[in-house]
Amino acid sequence: MRAILALEDGSVYHGQAFGTRGSACGEVCFNTSMTGYQEILTDPSYKGQIVTMTYPLIGNCGVNAQDVESWRPHVSGFVIRELSPVVSNWRADFSLAEYLEKNGIPGIEGIDTRALTKKLRVRGAMNGFISAEDVSDEEASAKAKSWPGLMGVDYVKEVTHATAFQWDERDEQSANFKLVRGTAASDIRNIRDPLPAADIPIVAYDFGIKYNILRRLRQRGFKVRVVPATAPAAEALRSKPAGIFLSNGPGDPAALDYAIRTVGDLVKSGIPIFGICLGHQMLGLALGGKTFKLKFGHRGANQPVKDLETGKVEITSQNHGFAVDADSLPSEVGVNRINLNDQTVEGMRHKRKPIFCVQYHPEASPGPHDSTPLFDEFRAMIMG
């Protein structure tokens, strides 16, 4: 079955369809991670985007029920060079094609993803249209051109949970994934590290939160109440949390007036705050700074970040198309981490208030675990 990918600049790529036989518009971006396509598909931050994997062989390990980052995949479309004809991993539950089909997401394989990536690197992220239906090149290009794009659109409201809830009250989903050890027989898929008591109540703002953030918070002894992005500060503070977490999420941070106001109120309250990705950008905006759109974004699992306080370099997992403008920040906010590739802001710390945030993903999933200690730092900040 034929599939097509068209970009707003008029270029058209032909390949084979996999996943659902549908069509979708989205911003075409690329991710350079060589592992973790399942986590990428299910990361709500990709809402509104057609994701291209630069690594050519995808689907080798299939998809399993455990490695999800939310309740379903969120990408608009998935673009790869070659889909594995077989699934080879002891944990696989489905093939990638079955999984996308079940979730109504179109995929295209067999196109020159390197040429596409090079184009996106030069031109920047572009709007596009992916289809496994019978559409002509002209129709596809027209769809890509007429799609309004991500700027100024609130995608958070599409992925945030509608009502507040307590994360994993029965401790069934939060323990760290482990491999079986030694030769003793046991249920190999369910080996988990024990969890500490959940004794620090916090509120996590869900702008499209990844499960692994919630797992990591729970693993550090936090009792996490997840609230929708639209919850006002007063509502979040009513339960007397010890701290506030601001999550990752999709799209343009500047489009989220209501959330920026909320974050501003939270900052004023003096409560300890930790933000990741979109949460970091919203802190930047709420504290008086500005954000801007990066040319082609940072999406991958090998971004070097230097901690300016310690001099150490962390290899980080990233997924963002916007960044905080360092020059726009007020003097009470310090930039404490930078990206060594392009010197953009990767972390901020408030000089007087218990607030810090990072642009990248310390929860990894996918990606390196170098930054996991940030969750301990949040705990230490709250405990004083």
């Binding site: 592992t35 370099v313 590739n341 390196p368 675990h369």
Partner: protein
């Protein structure tokens, strides 16, 4: 942290003559190191007895000794060079960089350390010190260290009686078991027991043969998947993975004789990151302060259980492959890290703008295929096992595994254009078959079940003779993902042949 100012001269030990198991890869790493250190203004002293190396060209070192690589000779060189430093009134000292000349250099450096020569002349080992090398090289010390940091290793135990042996077997709880009698010449009396009867028999014989009545019983990893990680570490404890490698051939075949593929193909991110964390834990525990190490893992394909096999606290054959596969010059950067630089202070050669403190990510597949020359060694046993028998290798890059494998096979200069379908005949023992002739099943079965140099081509013969993927898997334990890739090449051959007809 800038470069060290207390160093004047760096002594590099080369790898000596080219032998099976240690070839030009160490000329490559040593040459890179010489260049990098000269670039930083150090005086470079080189010992290597092999004149057919780039590194012994006059411009690569400030002084080159074409002398035997023995502790005695290197001691004389150290004496001479220490005096030289005194004579010229050098401000810094002489240091020894032992990690770039393969096992020969490492062993020579360790001999110099054990004889007290390095202490006597105050020559510091940079890159990895003697304690780290010992922890990495001594199997028992390494195994205990791995257990102490919570990593998994093959389960094993020693026994002095049949009863003790049975208890060890019970602990391991799975056949086959590897039995090694202690202190027998060339390991006589050892073997693999596939069932209880064989086990009891071998234990009795092993206990008899061992002068101390002791046998080591170890869990067998035959058929497990084999992986490698190339790790770099700097003085500030920044660690990066340069390259991950998956072996096409399962455990039981020396990595040098295996077809290897970068990056890893059949691990999910969760499993890969556990392997990455483990790699850093190993390099830190062993104490390789700066530079590269190669760490080998085995993974049980049914349970995902991951055990550490070994680590090389030095630049290895895989480092050369990893450097070329990713564009990250491991030897050059290892040399710079050894003299005090940090990863983020060194520029990445490819981008020239970003620092070396990153992890290469690639959008292609790299395949290395070993080159054998059994025709030149008619008395050698062509069965592949844990002793390396290949005389060289070829590497190829492709956008798919299929492309890189076909290119690598074509690069071997054995007259083939890939897996087959090139119109050339197959010579098997004294039989000659046409290129597209179907080979007898029993010949194929024999060639698949015992690892050998031609097994990759017999995967094609097997598929063309109608063997199923599962049949081939049970004979070879080669991961089904790889087998399916081979099948796609074979299917395409059939498609092309059909068009021609």
């Amino acid at each position: 942290m800038p470069k060290r100012t207390d160093i004047h001269s760096v002594l590099i030990i080369g790898a000596g003559p080219i032998i099976i198991g240690q070839a030009c890869e160490f000329d490559y790493s040593g040459t890179q190191a010489c260049k990098a250190l000269k670039e930083e203004g150090f005086r470079v002293i080189l010992v290597n007895s092999n004149p057919a190396t780039i590194m012994t060209d006059p411009e690569f070192a400030d002084r080159t000794y074409l002398e035997p690589i023995t502790p005695e000779c290197v001691e004389k060189i150290i004496v001479r060079e220490v005096e030289e430093l005194k004579r010229i009134g050098a401000k810094g000292k002489l240091v020894l960089l032992p990690t770039l000349g393969g096992q020969t250099a490492l062993n020579t450096a360790m001999a110099l350390h054990r004889k007290g020569i390095l202490d006597t002349y105050n020559v510091e080992m940079i890159g990895a010190n003697a304690q780290a090398i010992e922890r990495g090289e001594d199997r028992q010390i390494f195994k205990d260290l791995m257990l102490s940091i919570g990593l998994d290793v093959p389960v094993s135990g020693t026994a002095h009686t049949l009863e003790e042996a049975r208890q060890v077997a019970e602990k391991i709880a799975r056949f086959p078991l590897i039995i090694r009698p202690a202190f027998t010449l060339g390991g006589t009396g050892g073997g693999i027991a596939y069932n209880r009867d064989e086990f009891e028999e071998m234990i009795k014989r092993g206990l008899d043969l061992s002068p101390v009545s002791e046998v080591l019983i170890e869990e067998s990893l035959l058929g497990w998947k084999e992986y490698e990680m190339e790790v770099m570490r700097d003085k500030a404890d920044n660690c990066v993975i340069v390259c991950s490698i998956e072996n096409f051939d399962p455990m039981g075949i020396h990595t040098g004789d295996s077809i290897t593929v970068a990056p890893i193909q059949t691990l999910t991110d969760k499993e890969y990151q556990i392997m990455r964390d483990a790699s850093f834990a190993v390099i830190r525990a062993v104490g390789v302060e700066t530079g590269g190490s190669n760490i080998q893992f085995a993974v049980n394909p049914e349970t995902g259980r991951m055990v550490i096999i070994e680590m090389n606290p030095r630049v290895s054959r895989s480092s050369a492959l990893a450097s070329k596969a990713t564009g990250f010059p491991i030897a050059k950067i290892a040399a710079k890290l050894a003299v005090g630089f940090l990863l983020d202070e060194i520029k990445n050669d490819i981008t020239r703008e970003t620092p070396a403190s990153f992890e290469p990510t690639i959008d292609y597949v790299v395949t290395k295929v070993p080159r054998f020359a059994f025709e030149k060694f008619p008395q050698a046993d062509p069965t592949l096992n844990t002793q390396m028998k290949s005389v060289g290798e070829a590497m190829a890059i492709g956008r798919t595994f299929k492309e890189s494998l076909q290119k690598a096979l074509r690069s071997l200069e054995i007259g083939r254009y890939g897996l087959g379908g090139d119109g050339k005949p197959w010579r098997i023992s004294d039989q000659v078959y046409g290129d597209r002739e179907t080979l007898p099943r029993e010949v194929i079965t024999r060639k698949l079940s015992v690892p050998n140099a031609e097994r990759i081509f017999f995967l094609r013969h097997a598929l063309r003779a109608g063997f199923s993927i599962d049949e081939i898997f049970s004979l070879t334990k080669i991961d089904r993902w790889f087998l399916m890739q081979i099948k796609e090449i074979v299917d395409f051959e059939e498609e092309l042949a059909a068009i021609k007809n």
